[in-house]
Amino acid sequence: MSDVIEEKIKNYRTAPFDARFPNTNQTRNCFQNYLDFHRCNKALSDKGQDVAPCDWYQRVYKSLCPLSWVAKWDDQIEAGSFPGKI
């Protein structure tokens, strides 16, 4: 399973089509992948597993999200005021 994901991460070009967000407005796609990355990190590190598969979500949100949003959310996470549920 994880080598499939490693393969996908290695061959990554851009964020693939996501049927949950088919329209032009990709805001929710960006936010969902950001949340999924942090949730994945938290879940896998709680279980003691390697967090490398979570890099897929990071690649996707870095492709989709404006840098200012990512910077703002990172600051909020450090300050503990991030509004999403992680």
């Binding site: 399973m1 499939v4 994901i5 049927a19 949950r20 088919p22 969902q32 994945c40 897929w56």
Partner: protein
């Protein structure tokens, strides 16, 4: 003296019979547009309530858009799209 009808002061012409319901009849287009607007906004609310667009219940059903299949089509009409895709990451939660 023209045959225009004012809503509050109806001019009575002697040569025609003017029914008292004419002011109401003249307001019917207004009711049509207001009713149409109400119907359309209600229909949009229904669409939001039944589809995976909005999270209505934060504790019970957060993020309903995550509960749909990766192969489900959400658009009404999509051009040149093959919807037999696979989910893009390992389940880890």
């Amino acid at each position: 003296m023209t045959s225009s009808v004012y809503l509050n002061t109806v001019l009575y012409r002697e040569d025609i019979l003017l029914p008292h319901v004419v002011p109401f009849l003249l307001l019917v287009p207004l009711f049509i547009f207001i009713g149409g607007g109400t119907v359309m906004s209600g229909a949009y609310l229904l669409r939001l309530a039944m589809g995976p667009h909005v999270s209505w219940n934060r504790n019970g059903n957060p993020e309903p858009w995550n509960k749909t299949e990766p192969t489900q089509q959400h658009k009404f009409y999509s051009v040149n799209m093959d919807y037999s895709k696979l989910k893009k990451e390992g389940p880890d939660f």
